[in-house]
């Protein structure tokens, strides 16, 4: 890779007051034709392009992004990474991603600040305890690290949690995945963009797709705000806007797009060194390296493409946070935002071919796509390059809604992502 980042390049650039760093990726105009075009310049889309170029030797490809790269859900999530899913298919998919995360900074020569600080999921009632214990056993059978903690161990692992038996939803225990953690979400998009650009991928920002041209069952190209682009392979990774793109090709998807909210507090000194999630009270919290508490709320219960979300959802989440962590009662919240997530009926993603030749979809990640970014890109690239799914994403095909072979992670996988 040209312009490799290292201690030497840092020292060298220090002599010129850091004013001569090269741009990490280019700003090309679209060519007339590409071997493949990826729609959506978020983490998943950029990772797809990166692996298409790196593993499948497809260099003449473009990523189209209607805004700026990483400005959608990649920059809006709460950065949590874990793989403790119940079903075998999901365990395979998410742990594939987690294994790539573990070496990603080295591979990309870009610090994505991956931090395996552990993710703890709390149980608040007898059913939670049974479900989470079952999930722990399932995880271990799939080779995924997971331990069950009783209330005392939860308190030891994260001392600021209120484990009093008197609260409305007392903490009866929890599961812990130590390999899980967080990463700097923007850096993931930037790192993949830089890596893909270095291999010749065109990253085209401010270019919105307006239509998909078909000749019978085969795609022929895309109408965009920067003109027509000819291609025989289109990979759509448009998250909340997947249905909008699908409609352009005359396709319907089993998705509903809803706003999912998150918020951060004012920065404080280190107080919580892990990620704690709770399904029953629907709140989760971690602390960023800047010191802000990063808090995730739930989705609004109606379809909306407004990147806002309702106030009552945030209010409910903060009530739960305050009951579990009374120490936060005087913290001020600084920012709140929403991202549009595409939710599948079984809360599992779709990484699949469609019945239109050359049209592929990677969507339906719903409220928890960030954690899968590298694995999703790798498997989607495989699917596009070979016109066949990899064995790890075979179960996540679009046809499962016809066959009934759903990967039902709703309620099974701590879906309060």
């Amino acid at each position: 890779m040209k312009n490799k980042y290292s201690i030497f390049s840092l020292i060298k650039n220090a002599f010129s007051q850091h004013e001569n760093w090269k741009q990490a990726w280019g700003n090309p105009e679209p060519k007339k034709e590409y071997e493949a075009v990826i729609v959506g310049g978020g983490g998943h889309g950029l990772a797809t392009a990166y692996y298409l170029a790196k593993k499948h030797n497809m260099k003449n490809i473009a990523v189209l992004e209607k805004g700026w790269i990483g400005g959608g859900n990649t920059g809006r999530n709460t950065t949590i990474i874990r793989s403790n899913y119940l079903w075998d298919a999901s365990a395979g998919l998410y742990d594939h991603a987690l294994k790539i995360w573990e070496n990603l900074s080295q591979e990309l020569n870009y610090n994505i600040m991956f931090s395996q600080r552990g993710v703890m999921n709390l149980a608040h009632n007898l059913q939670d305890v049974r479900d989470l214990k079952r999930r722990t056993h399932a995880n271990r059978l799939n080779g995924i690290d997971a331990v069950w903690l009783d209330t005392k161990q939860v308190k030891e692992f994260c001392p600021i949690i209120n484990t009093s038996p008197d609260i409305r939803y007392p903490v009866l225990g929890g599961t812990l995945q130590r390999r899980a953690g967080t990463a700097r979400h923007d850096a993931v998009a930037w790192g993949y963009a830089r890596g893909a650009d270095a291999m010749g991928v065109d990253i085209i920002q401010n270019c919105e797709v307006k239509g998909i041209k078909r000749n019978g069952d085969q795609v022929e190209g895309l109408d965009t705000t920067k003109g027509f682009i000819k291609t025989k392979k289109i990979g759509v990774v448009a998250a909340g806007h997947s249905s909008v793109i699908a409609n352009m090709a005359g396709l319907k998807l089993p998705l509903e797009s809803k706003p999912l909210q998150a918020l951060v507090s004012e920065p404080v000194k280190p107080i919580i060194d892990t990620v704690v999630m709770s399904n029953a009270v629907h709140a989760y919290v971690s602390q960023s390296d800047k010191g802000e508490l990063v808090i995730g709320a739930g989705t609004d219960a109606y379809i909306s493409y407004t990147q806002r979300g309702s106030h009552d959802v945030v209010e409910g989440t903060l009530k739960a946070i305050l009951e579990l962590y009374p120490i936060f009662s005087r913290m001020k919240m600084l920012r709140q935002w929403g991202g549009i997530v595409d939710i599948c009926p079984d809360a599992s993603p779709i990484i699949s071919k469609t019945n239109i030749k050359g049209l592929y979809f990677n969507c339906g990640w719903g409220t928890g796509g960030f954690k899968a970014t590298p694995g999703s890109g790798d498997l989607f690239a495989h699917t596009i390059a070979n016109d066949e799914p990899h064995k790890l994403n075979a179960a996540f095909n679009l046809n499962r809604f016809v066959s009934g072979d759903l990967v039902d992670e709703h309620g099974a996988a701590a879906v309060a992502h």
Binding site: V244, L253, L255, A301, I303, T306, D312, V402
Partner: protein
Amino acid sequence: MFVINCPYCGERDQSEFSCGGEAHIVRPKQPTELSDDEWAEYLFMRKNIKGVQFERWNHTHGCRKWFNMVRDTSNDKIHAVYKMGEKPPVI
């Protein structure tokens, strides 16, 4: 977050309501004769429109009655509210 004009109760906060998704999906008349594709279409496939959408709502924390609504999902602006069984307005 917005205010909904319930056709039975009048204006109430959206948090009192729950959304039942896309409206006017016709329940199959002969369920036993449906193919797998038709079942998938009925159960799972949704238009998920960005723009003007017809949808069902229930006043869960109020009169508990179902009704239909026309709403622009790109800005949450409500264009019309009408009772179940009434003809959808032309927007």
